[in-house]
């Protein structure tokens, strides 16, 4: 059974885990694959929310983050939008390069791209849409506009 969910979250890191658990439960109800929920979706949603709160909204407690989700047995679509001015997702360095591995930051978007099947940022760079398929695509496609 497909379902749609919209959460307006305070810019509070404590809200991330509660939101992720809520979303996992709703997608579980929709019949989505448990293993991909537990790992891929958890990482994708948690990293997107943390980025929105820490960097997008710059920890500003007056700002909010919007989490939209469409849960189905075959796919899950997630959109996370913050109230920041956005960023250029193409400008992020590869954290796996030897010279970047000892950095203590810069792995969030990389993990999202690795673990979700499609990732698309809006033009402003303050909203990311992620698609996770129950059956992973053979060749993952990533695009940013």
């Amino acid at each position: 059974m497909q379902s749609r969910h919209v959460l307006e979250l305070p810019n509070d890191l404590g809200a991330i885990e509660r939101s992720v658990e809520y979303l996992l439960e709703r997608c579980r109800d929709a019949g989505f694959d448990e293993d991909r929920l537990r790992f891929n979706l958890r990482v994708g949603v948690a990293e997107a929310l943390a980025n929105a709160m820490l960097y997008g909204n710059a920890r500003d407690p007056r700002k909010r983050v919007r989490l939209e989700a469409w849960c189905g047995a075959d796919l899950v679509r997630i959109r996370v939008t913050d109230e920041g001015s956005g960023f250029d997702p193409g400008s992020l360095p590869d954290p796996t390069l030897p010279q970047n591995r000892t950095r203590s930051y810069g792995r969030g978007v990389f993990l999202i791209r690795q673990l979700m099947d499609r990732v698309e940022f809006n033009e402003q760079g303050n909203s990311v849409e992620m698609l996770l398929l129950a059956e992973p695509e053979e060749s993952r496609r990533e695009y940013s506009s």
């Binding site: 890191l13 404590g14 991330i16 885990e17 537990r38 790992f39 958890r42 990482v43 948690a46 990293e47 943390a50 820490l54 954290p95 796996t96 591995r101 000892t102 950095r103 203590s104 930051y105 792995r107 969030g108 990389f110 993990l111 690795q114 673990l115």
Partner: protein, 110 residues
């Protein structure tokens, strides 16, 4: 969810219960730095009871590894479950840390 600190000989062992994430990473960092400031040099972080580490948690481990090494110390990790091992492999952090499959193996590696 929390962190427990034990002493095993001259090795400081930290158990991470639940998750190591953006919301609690500073607590782990503070505990390790306190021990480091007290003169401890050998650290083992055991993830046997850890379900999830996010990118901020990974970042704290990288940061602690650097600080411990700067003081002439060593940091070992143990008991990563399959998901956590995947995270370390994807980010290539498995090349940065010495990771053991059990606590005993990690303790013996110092």
């Amino acid at each position: 969810m929390g962190f427990e600190v034990h002493r095993q000989g001259d090795i400081t062992v930290l158990d991470v219960e639940g998750q190591l994430i953006v919301g609690n990473r500073q607590e782990l960092k503070q505990k390790v730095l306190e021990e480091l400031n007290d003169g401890e040099r050998k650290f083992l972080i055991d993830f046997d009871r850890t379900g999830y580490i996010d990118s901020s948690g990974l970042g704290v481990l990288v940061s602690l590894s650097k600080k411990i090494r700067e003081q002439g110390g060593e940091l070992r990790l143990a008991n990563l479950n399959e998901d956590l091992r995947t995270l370390f492999e994807l980010t290539k952090l498995d090349t940065l840390f010495q990771i053991s499959s059990s606590r005993d193996e990690a303790l013996a590696s110092f």
